[in-house]
Amino acid sequence: MLNAKIPDGPLEKKWEDYKGHVKLVNPANKRKLEVIIIGTGLAGASAAASLGELGYKVKAFCFQDSPRRAHSIAAQGGINAAKNYQNDGDSVFRLFYDTIKGGDYRAREGNVHRLAEVSTNIIDQCVAQGVPFAREYGGLLSNRSFGGTQVQRTFYAAGQTGQQLLIGAYQALERQVALGNVKMYTRHEMLEIVMVEGKARGIIARNLVTGELERHAGHAVLICSGGYGNVFYLSTNAMGSNVTAAWKAHRKGAHFANPCFTQIHPTCIPVTGEHQSKLTLMSESLRNDGRIWVPKKKGDDRRADQIPEDERDYYLERRYPAFGNLVPRDVASRAAKERCDAGYGVGTSKQAVYLDYADAILRYGRIEAGKRNLSGTSDAQIIAMGKEVVKEKYGNLFDMYEKITGENPYEVPMRIYPAVHYTMGGLWVDYELMTAIPGLYALGEANFSDHGANRLGASALMQGLADGYFVIPYTIGNYLAEEIRSGALTTNQPAFDEAEKSVRERLETLMSIKGTETVETMHKRLGKIMWDKCGMARNKQGLTEAIEEIRQLRKEFWSNIRIPGKINDFNPELDKAGRVADFIELGELMCIDALNREESCGGHFREEHQTEDGEALRHDDQYMYVAAWKSVGTHEWQLEKEPLDYEVVKPSQRSYK
Amino acid sequence: MGLTGLFLIGFLVIHVGLNACIFADLPFLNPSDNGEMFNRAAHFMGSTIVTRILELVLFAGFILHIIQGYQLEIQNRKRRGTAYSVGLGNRGSKWYSRSMGLLGTLIFLFLIVHISAFWVPSRITHDLAPVAYGNGVEMHNLYLRMFEVFQSPLIVLLYLVACASLCFHLLHGFQSAFRTMGVHNKKYLTMLKSLGYGFAVVVSVLFALMPIAMHFQWIKPD
């Protein structure tokens, strides 16, 4: 039975009480304790920096050439915090409540409340590090609104909040490297967890430049390797984003929780062809001012500007008058899919809807004319002024759209379509962020804990930094306090020999297959199965088929893959092969989980379970639990359920109408 | 680099100003000047201890600028390693910004000729024709010397090439020097940029006009 170890007491006192009673490690002992951190995104870099500052000996690993390139960098829109600087009724409780509700009541109350509590510290910390957040003329921090909320609590730095926050964490990390507290291993990939006496005691990592396998011992291992959206091949994740570290942990005994909870982001640039290697997100902040529509007539082939106003269907505003274009991501995505499936899609592929800024441009233009006390301005002048304002707010996003599509979004509406963006599922962790393996932690997107079945915009950055800056520095001490007697660790022991041997054999097997299919094509095929049958809408038949198809694909992969080059060399194809092999295994588990969850909630939409007007239909009586899967064989998993008890929030059907 | 550059820019102002005195002899100004104004100015520069010390400082400035320049050029050239097969060329920067070493070398070569033609006979060997004006003080007739030197078309050509080099050297060097010294305020940078372009052109054209005017005998000793 999984024990989440949620502290007793009233919700708002849990974290404070925990901090007051948690075991501590004295500074002299911290120097003797080694912590291994996999991944240097927001969670990993912030954890590495904070633990380094505390005095632990930290080793941090990333597969990129610099820790600053982790994919957190690509987050555009912003980071939430319950600061209530706007005096619009925000509070820790509201952020907590919005997150629980946004997650469709599939997240833990205790974790989420803690997240809301520390959210304010994150902003303070980042400002102190020199993160250049957007500011008002008075010099104070600026906020904007995001999907699924009715307050303005999102802090941002133009369209690159992720990059600015990551650079803040990266700089803090490099400072610790300079001070000798953190040792950084770039272009390294973790390929196995080493277990000694039932505890995580180290890793086997591969130097991606030389191909050599390395052993690293640690008193604790932190997996901060991000999400697994690339299982769909096409996603907004970086090309290198992978599940390998989390998957190795899973195969060693860590539970994988809610793997089927994937977030499909509603505003991405549509697919153009077979050649496509990745999808590009257009920030959710665009929904602040943009209006989403499709033609009212089926298969309308007219250009957007030729479709008159009364022949446009602003379907989000029509269906959800209260939240309009700012409904949560899962709702917006499904609504877009519903329109396209019904034949109202636009563009050559018909798999797209319009995101239109014409109204916003006019509105801002008029405001601007008012500000400047202009009268008798022509429409053209108003539009020109409006475009200036829009450019100021969203210029970099518009430029990006233009570069990719060749179309000018100031003149014609953007075409958008949902794409895989984030994975709420991940390694099961308790309140202390520890997996089922003692000494093995999971932070950030790699764990499952805070977003339930759907994540609200601007909450991923918040969670990554909360885990790294403000949670793990406290909770890890509770475990390490017991480890001070372990003394210095050696990699010279049978467990390391075995782990290294198994990694080596796997690599050698991969190289020896010498088949005909490239890793890329295999990955594409997996992605297609996942998107078609375990994507935005799922059903029993499709999922059953998918499981079979993935098993076939796995066989084919291990008998027909072709990897060029050598093992002991810089060999990106080999790196990728290992990752895709893990994705294939994960894909199977995702389908199993989706099949098991006979309800619709958040990002998981089972066609069999919907209300009359097509909204997700939860079955709280049967599925109010975290589905934590334990690996017991190649194709076998054991389901362990962690029941979700809502003490404060009363689950209801989510309504954004 | 920037500091010595700015110092030399200061010198150029004085040099071009003094030399421009020859134009006092222009027919429409004061045809009877006959180089008096210029010769007096040149004499002043060579006759007080202060200016002679400044002269030493100037030489030091030149030498420092040249040594620094070559050091920089040599160091920076090594930083690339393997050369590109296709270069960025003028798509990223002006050719003269990338050719400060070459332009500087041209100016340096010219300087040798220039110094041996005027400075050496005037300050070291003293083999220039004397001339005396109203107060009876005898001084070198540098004006005459200039006229003689600039009768050779080859020398005139050399001077013109040098002036062109100087112009481009200054086009980049003027604003670059200020940037090196840390001017980053947009308002001042814009001003300095315009000033730099103007300075480069005016100074070079004035210098270039001297050999031309003498060669074509627009001005000449009587």
């Binding site: 904070s50 610099s66 820790p67 600053r68 390139r69 994919h71 600061k83 303070d124 910390q125 400002v127 102190a128 590090q129 020199g130 250049p132 957007a134 008075g138 921090l141 133009a158 990266y170 490099e174 490297v177 430049v209 970086a238 090309m239 050649h275 290697s277 997100l281 430029d399 990006m400 990719i404 599509t405 060749g406 179309e407 000018n408 100031y410 003149e411 014609v412 800056y469 490239t518 890329e520 094509t521 072709r562 060029p564 080059g565 810089f570 | 920076n76 930083r79 690339r80 390693g81 590109y84 960025l88 798509r91 990223g92 920067s93 990338r98 400060m100 670059s176 940037r179 980053h184 947009k186």
Partner: protein, 269 residues
Amino acid sequence: MPSATVRAGWCVRFYMEHYNMNLTLKVWRQDNKNAQGRFETYPVKDVSSEMSFLEVIDLLNDRLVKEGGDPIAFDHDCREGICGMCSMYINGRPHGPWHATTTCQLHMRAFKDGDTVVVEPWRAQAFPVIKDLVTDRSAFDRLVQAGGFVSVNTGNAVDGNAIPVNKDNADASFAAASCIACGACVAACKNASASLFLAAKVSHLALLPQGQPERKSRVLSMVAQMDKEGFGSCTFTGACEAVCPKEISITNISRMHKDYLFAGVAADK
């Protein structure tokens, strides 16, 4: 139409038309750091104008693997122009012909049928080639280690709104901080100087109140580290600014020089 578009010189229409093309790629191949490099020529057929440049390399690599060849090694990750990993010197320009664009965002409508495209790695002594088009840019990390941070431990912070920041400074700081550390500035500079990268970091922090306590020591030690890493010095040719995908202004270098001079003059030791 935004002016960036005009400068970029790519064809922007309200509605895009697509075409296919055949290209010849001349790519730098180098087995490892110490090996002798050479150009290899690859014809690539049926390239869609909608593809990104990296997708063409993907296509070529897929073919090379199937033919039993060695695929071209190149750095890439996010493919949305922000991670700074991609780094190709295309037809004599870092990140290719488009203005303010990373290699991954360069799309094939920048080229026409029959074009020959020469692809080289960043070339600088401080960025040794690891393989083919992949270079070692760890020098940038070491520059940041030399002082590119604010020394504030987690938990030390005061309220975010306790220190107002003049909006112009905040905006200028952000503009400098938008640097993605791709190294195009080094690749373009005739001196292989990292001044623009360094100045972006120095300015980012120098323009904020949080960066003041360490302002002087930061610039001194970061500049010293730059020399140690083997980057050249700045002669203000402006090539870095012209190729920077994030349009970082060369003015930042002047600001860094000012800080450096002041710090140097005021230095106690």
